[in-house]
Amino acid sequence: MRTLRRVRSLRPSLLIALAVALAGAILVGAGAGSAQAATKVQVSRSFVKGSDGQLYWVTNHLVGGVKAPKVKAPSRSAAATAAPTAAGGGKEYLVVWAGDQNAADTKGSDIKDAPLAVNPVKTTNEDAVTDPPAPDFLAVIDATPSSSTYGKVVNTATVGPLVENEPHHMQYLYHKGDKIFAGGLFSSATYVFDVSKLPTVSLSGVSLPTDTRGGSIPDAFWTLPDHTAYATYMGGPVVPGPYTYSDGETRIGNGYGGSPGELVHFDTTGKVLSETPAANATTEDPATCPNYPPIPGQATCANPHGIQARPDLQRMVTSDYAEPRNIVLDPVKPWDPSTFRPTVRIWDISKENAPKVVSDTVLPDGPRVEQNPGHEEERGIMEASVTNRPQDKGAFAESMCGGVIYYSPDITAAKPVWREVFDDTAASKVLNPDITEGGGCDGGGWVQTDPTDHYLYHAVIGRNPGSLDSSDPGVPKMVYALDISKLIAAGESPACNVNTIDQVYDGGSAPDCPTVASVQSLPDGTSGGPHWGTEDNFVKGPDGLYSETGNITRLAASNYFVARTGVDGNHKLCMLNVGPGGKLSIDRNFRDENEGTPCVDFNRNSWPQGKNGNAKPHSELFVVPDASLK
């Protein structure tokens, strides 16, 4: 009885103790849960010294248990440090050059009227620190389908000390032994990354505006078999006036962001081996190639953007896009459409440090008669792509404003002939047969042949209905594949020539014209669209090692263009499967680790490097670390 009373008297205390313990568990457990969600990040840094004597660096933020040894800061006399090592683990990665989106993407005069952050996430989630310029970075994403971390960001390699680089392009494909050359559109800096030990990245070199005074605004890169790289600098010399290039030639430029652009040859440490003017020694037609301010006696359209080379043919193709600082943002009244260049240049690269322009061609106008002259077919030749097989000598070029694809069957010819072979309208109609607005200024970007020269892939930003005016039905946002096999097979005398208006919508009438193999619309709830892409040129063998392949079964495409673009674009990176017949489809297993839906979203609060908010993925490459690559 006494015992029972003792037990009964203890019961309330036990109940209270239980309640206290439970309350404690609720309070602590919720906190512990969130602590467990925080993943361990290993940080390591790699330095180089720039030509200005300053230190430049890349900082790895490796997710999970990958160990990277600490790297000592270099002494004053040292250059690059040894790269940290980390086993690739038999994986393939996507390396994405991405910029930080921050409050600088909003006009100051807008700030007072609106929440500070452009990033809508910031207005709803106080955790994301989007406002301050945070470092730009290479995102390393697991691209191995069989991996448990497929689609996850496994490292972010942030660059410093320069911010607001506006990451732009890298080279088009990665090959073993290459470095990655990555340009900063606004910093006019080129970074050279060593990715042989992915997921860890180290910095091999950096080129500053001072190192490439003959040009500004770096755009694209092409690596050569010796792993050096050519780069296009689209804008003119950093200061106006005469500039003497590496080959002793002198050109007069009209200054930063003007003309002429140049070709730069880098070594694997970012050292400039040569600077070559993209402009001819003689003037081009001032009416076709106006410059503002004018360049007396040396009018030029030389504003190279795209670049691809055929070292076996000793030829390289660059496509001239536009004189950057004179692109006027008026949709109705383009100030001078001729500032969007219609030209393609072919170079003799038999002497790597002294490439020479052997032909520059004004691409022909097509059959469309656009209300806006800036939308004519030949306007804004942004990108080019060479064929690949030894027997094929052709190359393609595409116009961003014109919305068409050109082809030349032989870039070794003394006077290469370029013809329009496809209008984006014919691809748009696959998604929307009732389309009433053609390819004019549909924002075509990346264009790439596959290694077998069977298919040509093309990304189109598109635009939403109503963009031009209330009657504008818009253009689909898409990546499409063309079957170019017949065109290539036609050799040096293809018949294809889209020069009649019916071929705009129907496609080329000649039997060897490219045909649409597949069109993949990329869902985009914003006013952005896909601009860039890359092919997966690797395949895993039975031995677990990778090797390069000509059989492309995957592409990656990113949805972002240029800085200060507000809340446009969805900043997503999608994986596209390439099936038989070039059939494109979204890989739904390549999912965002936060949202769980297909495509990796660069709009997120947290990254391995911190809560830096949204990022802007401009370009990407499939890369396999050396340890896993034959």
Binding site: I16, K107, E164, F186, P324, G380, V562, T565
Partner: protein
């Protein structure tokens, strides 16, 4: 007349509850404040009655005590459940009171009620103490001092109020009961004294922290409540003393006083609960006084930058600020209330102008300048830069012309490779206009001294027929600091233009607030204003090319793009 500016700003509020927009927001906040006040008051009563037996002996009126405990427990539980059921209430009133905290509070309150009923004193007291801890930590506080003061006040007031209620609930007409109460009161006395002292002292500390300005005690609702609380506490102390002094022969009077004391304590608890859920007034604190170095300067660009820096230093909180100009301000021709800085304001650029001149010579030489014209004036900075630049330039064989006597309105006929402008902003504008209009423009363009970072001087370079304008800067104009300065400047004055002097003022204010010095730049990087774009308008629709927090507001697509690496500045 010297211009002096006293700027005051308010620091972040200690109880920064989120503010909703829209009519529904008001209702949520009101209901939430009510619920929060009920929760605080009921918790104080509940825990107070838990602690009371520890310091004043068992309840004399156990029945009444149990009833009050039950009522307080129900009220606390109701408030908890309300926040669980209506998340908006918690988010917007309870300082982000998460569900887990409401659950924990509910559990502990239930434990206390059960414990009181079953008379498990020690365990109940522990649960009660935890309840108070949860209450303290769940509020927004500005640092550990605030937490300490709030915690001390809560605990002390709970003990004090609980004891008073404990005694009051035992009071009755029965003489035996009254005797028990008197005995309990005597037992409670020392604790009550300590609790009272602690309550009052922590209240004073809290008042100092939350309402530092005496005027706000009268001028704001929160302050008036604080005054009421103070008065009530004072009366309670007086009444308590009177109750203690009264002998057995004045039981009737004592009974009345006990009722009064109980009522006042209840009022104090209620007012205290209300204070804990209301937002204190944002106090105005004089942060800095800025005096320009030159008495005659009417510069306001640096003033505005300084003010923007103060906003940044106060974390851009919803702060009130006052700009108290001690002298008259002039208006510009454009109608803005602020005039631009004069050169006199920027007469001592940091680092030393001689170092700048040397760096300029180095960069200009690297870009092929061999013939230059330098525009200077009589200011010390201009003279230093010019002397250094000329000396270095001539040492490497340049042809350098210095034009100190050039007057606005005269043409520029120099031609040459470069024009360097190291004058005041106003004079620089005239020089630039003359160069742009000249048929003999400098081949490499115009190079501005670092203090001339100003929209009006960068814009001419953006014309398609203009001359390239470059400037050497010791800071990154695309950096976080610069972007924040420009952003906050827009908040200070819509028409204000960002300038180098303004950024200097901004950085100085930030540094002063953080009690550090502005780091001296060790190098320059040269930038040029450019409107480089990459998309035609018809594609860029939606890719709206909003420019940076821009140095050139009238040309929102313009950026300052680097032309060089870092050029080291010679040491002092």
């Amino acid at each position: 007349m010297a211009t002096s500016t006293v700027v005051t700003a308010a620091p972040a509020s200690a109880h920064s509850h989120a503010v909703l927009a829209g009519p529904e927001a008001g209702l949520v906040v009101v209901y939430g404040q009510l619920a929060a006040a009920v929760l605080v008051a009921s918790t104080v009563v509940l825990v107070g009655l838990v602690f009371a037996p520890l310091v004043a002996g068992p309840p004399v009126g156990p029945g009444r005590t149990r009833a009050v405990v039950a009522a307080a427990g129900i009220a606390a539980a109701a408030a908890d459940v309300a926040t669980l059921v209506w998340p908006a209430l918690a988010r917007n009133t309870f300082g982000g009171w998460p569900a887990r905290v409401a659950l924990a509070h509910l559990l502990l309150a239930s434990a206390v009620v059960v414990g009181m009923r079953q008379a498990s004193l020690a365990a109940t007291a522990v649960a009660g103490a935890l309840l108070l801890v949860v209450l303290v930590l769940s509020e927004d506080h500005d640092g550990s001092l605030h937490i300490l003061v709030a915690g001390a006040h809560l605990f002390a007031a709970t003990v004090w109020a609980g004891g008073v209620l404990h005694l009051a609930l035992g009071w009755s007409r029965a003489s035996g009961q009254r005797a028990a109460v008197r005995q309990a009161a005597r037992r409670f006395g020392p604790t009550a004294a300590v609790a009272a002292v602690l309550t009052v002292s922590s209240a004073v500390a809290a008042t100092h922290l939350h309402v530092p300005r005496a005027a706000d005690l009268i001028g704001t609702g929160y302050g008036q409540l604080v005054v009421l609380e103070i008065l009530v506490a004072a009366v309670v102390l007086a009444v308590a003393a009177a109750v203690r002094r009264g002998g057995e022969h004045h039981e009737g009077r004592r009974a009345s006083l006990v009722k009064v004391e109980t009522a006042l304590v209840s009022l104090a608890v209620g007012v205290g609960a209300a204070l804990s859920v209301l937002t204190p007034p944002a106090p105005l604190v004089q942060l800095a006084e800025y005096r320009p170095p030159v008495a005659s300067a009417a510069c306001t660009s640096r003033h505005l930058g300084h003010l923007a820096g103060l906003l940044a230093a106060n974390d851009d909180s919803p702060a009130r600020y006052r700009l108290e100009a001690l002298s008259q301000r002039g208006a510009t021709a454009g109608g803005s209330t602020w005039s631009t800085c004069s050169m006199a304001e920027e007469s001592t650029p940091d680092p030393g102008a001689a170092a700048l001149g040397s760096a300029y010579a180095s960069f200009l030489d690297s870009v092929g300048v061999h013939q230059a014209t330098i525009f200077s004036d009589g200011s010390p900075g201009s003279q230093e830069l010019t002397t250094a630049l000329v000396g270095r330039a001539r040492s490497v064989g340049w042809a350098v012309t210095v034009a100190p006597d050039w007057e606005p309105g005269q043409p520029y006929i120099g031609g040459g490779d470069a024009v360097v402008i190291a004058t005041s902003t106003e004079r620089a504008a005239s020089v630039l206009a003359a160069v742009v209009a000249s048929p003999s423009r400098p081949t490499r363009g115009v190079f501005l001294a670092p203090w001339l970072l100003s929209p009006e001087l960068l814009t001419p370079g953006l014309s398609t027929n203009g001359v390239q304008v470059s400037i050497g800067l010791g800071f990154d104009p695309n950096s976080n600091a610069a972007a924040s300065y420009i952003d906050l400047l827009a908040r200070v004055d819509d028409d204000a233009r960002p300038t180098a002097a303004g950024l200097e003022g901004y950085l100085e204010a930030l540094a002063a607030a953080e009690r550090r010095k502005v780091p001296r730049p060790t190098g320059l990087r040269f930038y040029t204003a450019s409107e480089a774009n990459f998309l035609p308008a018809s594609v860029s629709e939606g890719h709206q090319d909003n420019s940076a927090a821009t140095w050139i507001p009238q040309r929102p697509n313009a950026n300052l793009l680097p032309e060089s690496g870092v050029i080291a500045l010679p040491g002092p």
